[in-house]
């Protein structure tokens, strides 16, 4: 390994670790903000993380990052020693978040291959000045001392006066003392003798020094000294604070993750492992289903084959599960977004997260993080009303946004639910007409769903004012594309005035799908089983041809377009025979299409492989999602049903698919 590669490897590790740490820090900080205080576990945790960030940044010689991390570390070091009063909490909090944002931005620069060149001076200076101010406020502590003089020393009032003089010489001027007027009245002697001489001091010196100082004065027998804090002077407040503290502490205990049992692995290695296991599965099928072994009637062989299949199956499951990552990190990022947006837009929004432990393939998480962020932003920006509007509509003042994930068969459903103003059908429709996104349709013919789906079209935005967060009309369509790219779908439900639910349906994994293998001429294709509705032998009497030559079939009173795969994928000649062939009805987003194939070969799980890079660079093939190896070593091409519909919809069935004008 050359030095260059070594450095790149370190950088990659550094960026990865930093991003993880930043994510954890944000989660802890937001939790702290909610509870309004820093629990000591949280302080320790933040201190440790900052220390790590600082150390690794210094090692990589990213000075600006390590400076900021160092400053924040200092802050928390001080916080470990002195508790913080509630006034400065907000200020401190903003400081820390700004610092963390800075580190985050610089780390992002690194990930994108730039040098971290941000200027950390203002942040560091901000933290320094806060720390100075706070040190002064905190270290000049107030102490209450009760001093008893030696028994029988007489003239306690004079002794007390002397003590005050001596303290003054040492720069310790008492704030006040009791009893007052010690030299005037004789009765003070008794009070001092019985109750002690009480005085309040203000000093930056530690408690021990003051105690020693008081003891060193003549005739002082006993000194009771304790620091005074305004919190502690009120015992009730102390009790409440203690309870708060216990509560936050227990929250952290639950989040404890046994770190030593985890290792981080390069995703590239996992991909490789998965490819290998995929090949193993195919090789296993090649051996056990070998032509020449078919006739061997050996129990031993059968047993061994079953055993092998079982092991490869388990191996495959394990490898798949390694790649599964819980949605928690993705979801928790939304906390921050919602908080920041709420502050900026002056809306109060509470975010609830359900099912964050649901696991999804890592590749998929990467694809859905951005769309999810767009959806959350849109919900807060467009969906949520501000407090006055909410109260006027008879709702709770604080809006609620729920992120929910759950498993549903081989899919994961993610719901983004808000209780905002809901979608306005008329507005959406008019907007879409104004932007030329729909032509020749009446609002009354369109279902609610169809109208809502208009917001995913490129160039659509209902918000008049473009805000910092959303409203530029990009985003929703990009979100939609991203979700579609991983084979997922989006559906919207909304009731005006009550809220909106956007549900994403995402496959658990991209790597293995259930497929139906079909034969078309000499080629084999695999159709994802999830898209298949039914298949049947067509009757010629049910088919129609329109003047342009488009074929259609009547099925239970509905008319569906027919796509001959021979024609689509052949060299253009009209192949296939409706008499002998089989029609497979596929559905995607409520659009249906009948595919004409020669024969159904059977259903099996297939390992999805992408087409070779050279071919992908050469040309994007419409209607193909990838390829897979069959048991006999031959290759089958996997159909992309959505792609087929688009080509078919564009070239042919305008009659059926002409609703949406899509570029």
């Amino acid at each position: 390994m050359t030095e260059q590669q070594q450095a790149e490897l370190y950088l990659e590790m550094y960026v990865f670790e930093s991003e993880q740490l930043i994510g954890q820090l944000e989660a802890i900080l937001l939790e702290c903000e909610k509870s309004g205080s820093f629990a000591s576990e949280a302080v320790d945790e933040i201190f440790r993380s900052m220390h790590t960030l600082k150390g690794s940044a210094a090692m990589m010689q990213f000075a600006c990052i390590s400076e900021v991390a160092h400053a924040i570390e200092d802050l928390f070091y001080a916080l470990r020693l002195n508790p913080l009063d509630s006034d400065s909490f907000g200020q401190l909090f903003e400081l820390i978040l700004t610092g963390l944002d800075f580190i985050k931005a610089e780390t992002l620069k690194l990930r994108q291959g730039h040098e971290p060149d941000g200027n950390a001076e203002s942040i560091v200076a901000g933290i320094k000045s806060f720390l100075d101010y706070w040190n002064k406020a905190e270290t000049e502590r107030e102490y209450m001392a009760v001093v008893f003089f030696d028994e029988g020393c007489q003239m306690e009032n004079v002794r007390a006066y002397n003590l005050l003089r001596q303290l003054a010489d040492r720069g310790l001027e008492p704030l006040f003392y009791e009893p007052v007027g010690i030299l005037e009245g004789e009765d003070t002697v008794d009070i001092i003798r019985n109750e002690g001489f009480k005085l309040n001091l203000c000093s930056a010196s530690p408690e021990e020094d003051i105690r020693d100082c008081l003891h060193s004065i003549a005739f002082v027998r006993e000194v009771q000294l304790r620091p005074v804090s305004h919190l502690q002077s009120d015992s009730q407040v102390t009790a409440v604070a203690d309870e708060d503290f216990k509560e936050t502490a227990s929250q952290y205990e639950r989040r404890d993750i046994p770190a030593q049992t985890l290792i981080s692995v390069n995703v590239g290695k996992l991909d490789q492992l998965m490819d290998l296991v995929g090949e193993l599965v195919i090789a296993e099928a090649m051996v056990t289903q070998h032509e020449e072994l078919k006739d061997i009637a050996s129990d031993h062989f059968q047993k061994a084959a079953v055993h092998l299949r079982k092991i490869t199956g388990e191996l495959q499951n394990i490898v798949m599960s390694i790649r599964m990552v819980p949605l928690a990190t993705t979801f928790h990022k939304m906390h921050r977004i919602v908080r920041d947006m709420g502050k900026k837009l002056d809306k109060e929004v509470d975010i609830h997260i359900i099912g964050e432990e649901t696991e999804v393939d890592k590749n998929i998480i990467e694809h859905i993080a951005d769309p999810l962020m767009h959806l959350v932003r849109n919900a807060v920006d467009h969906g949520m009303e501000n407090t006055q509007e909410r109260l006027a509509a008879g709702k709770t003042a604080i809006g609620s946004l729920t992120l929910e994930a759950r498993n549903a068969g081989s899919d994961v459903i993610i719901l983004v639910r808000d209780d905002g103003r809901g979608l306005d059908k008329d507005k959406i429709f008019n907007r879409a007409v104004a932007h030329g996104l729909i032509i020749g349709r009446e609002q009354t013919d369109m279902s609610d769903r169809e109208i809502f789906n208009l917001i995913f079209l490129p160039g659509f935005s209902t918000k008049e004012n473009v805000t910092e967060y959303s409203g530029r009309g990009v985003g929703m369509d990009v979100a939609f594309k991203n979700i579609e790219n991983v084979g997922g779908s989006i559906a919207i439900e909304s009731v005006k005035g009550e809220g909106t639910v956007i549900s994403l349906k995402i496959p658990l994994t991209l790597a293995i799908i259930d497929g139906m293998n079909v034969r078309v001429g000499n080629s084999r294709y695999t159709i994802p089983t999830t898209a298949i509705q039914e298949s049947f032998k067509p009757r010629l009497t049910d088919t129609l041809v329109d003047p342009v030559g488009n074929e259609m079939i009547m099925l239970r009173g509905e008319c569906y377009p027919i796509l001959r795969l021979h024609e689509q994928f052949g060299k253009g000649e009209r192949g296939g025979n409706l008499n002998d062939g089989v029609l497979v009805v596929v559905e995607q987003e409520e659009r249906r299409l009948c595919l004409l194939v020669d024969e159904l070969l059977g259903q099996q799980q297939v390992v999805v492989k992408t087409l070779p890079a050279y071919i992908r660079n050469l040309k994007k093939i419409n209607g193909l999602a990838g390829c897979t190896l069959l048991g006999d070593g031959s290759i089958s091409l996997i159909l992309d049903v959505a792609g087929l519909m688009d080509t078919n919809g564009a070239a042919k069935g305008r009659l059926h698919q002409g609703i949406l004008k899509r570029e």
């Binding site: 050359t2 490819d275 995929g278 090949e279 195919i282 090789a283 000499n522 080629s523 689509q568 994928f569 052949g570 492989k609 087409l611 070779p612 890079a613 050279y614 071919i615 050469l618 040309k619 994007k620 093939i621 419409n622 209607g623 193909l624 390829c627 190896l629 070593g633 031959s634 290759i635 089958s636 091409l637 570029e663």
Partner: protein, 169 residues
């Protein structure tokens, strides 16, 4: 340690220097830099992939790896010839891309020193851009292929298709 590895690498480089794998298309003999060649396999069943240019025959399964195959005859706009048992697929690897080249037959590996290579005559013809030089071996000449150019496919060839499909989508 590194030095020794470097030396070995150097050594290997030396061994591959000026070496060409020669193959035939009809009467002409071509040469391809040996450093690009991964392996040579016999013709095997090819899965056709739709919508590709004519010279891309499809994809093959090479021990679990799926690689595309190109018919060099068709690439050079020659007549298609049926494959027989002498037909070979030369698997080359360029810039991390593996691709198989279908040729009529593979001849041998020969050494052509740089001094024996002359640049191709400047013919303003489309086909000549695949040739990076002409090597003299005894009485014969070999056309030395520019693999990068062979794989590049754009320009005029794909223009008419670009009009029909929005590849950016």
């Amino acid at each position: 340690m590194y030095n020794r590895l470097d030396q070995e690498e150097q050594h290997e480089d030396d061994a591959q220097k000026d070496k060409y794998l020669t193959f035939a298309l009809g009467d002409e003999e071509y040469g391809i830099e040996i450093a690009h060649v991964t392996e040579i396999i016999g013709i095997q069943s090819i899965t056709e992939v739709p919508q590709l240019p004519e010279f891309m025959m499809g994809i093959i399964n090479l021990r679990g790896k799926i690689i595309p195959v190109m018919d060099v005859r068709l690439r050079f706009r020659k007549r298609f010839r049926d494959y027989n048992d002498r037909t070979c697929i030369i698997v080359i690897n360029i810039k991390e891309l593996s691709i198989g080249l279908i040729v009529d037959r593979v001849a041998e590996v020969i050494s052509i020193p740089r001094s024996d290579i002359v640049p191709p005559p400047d013919m303003k013809q489309e086909g000549s851009r695949y040739i990076q030089g002409i090597g003299k071996v005894g009485e014969q000449v070999k056309l030395l292929l520019d693999c990068d150019e062979l794989l590049n496919y754009y320009e005029v060839e794909s223009l008419h298709e670009a009009g029909q499909h929005n590849t950016g989508g």
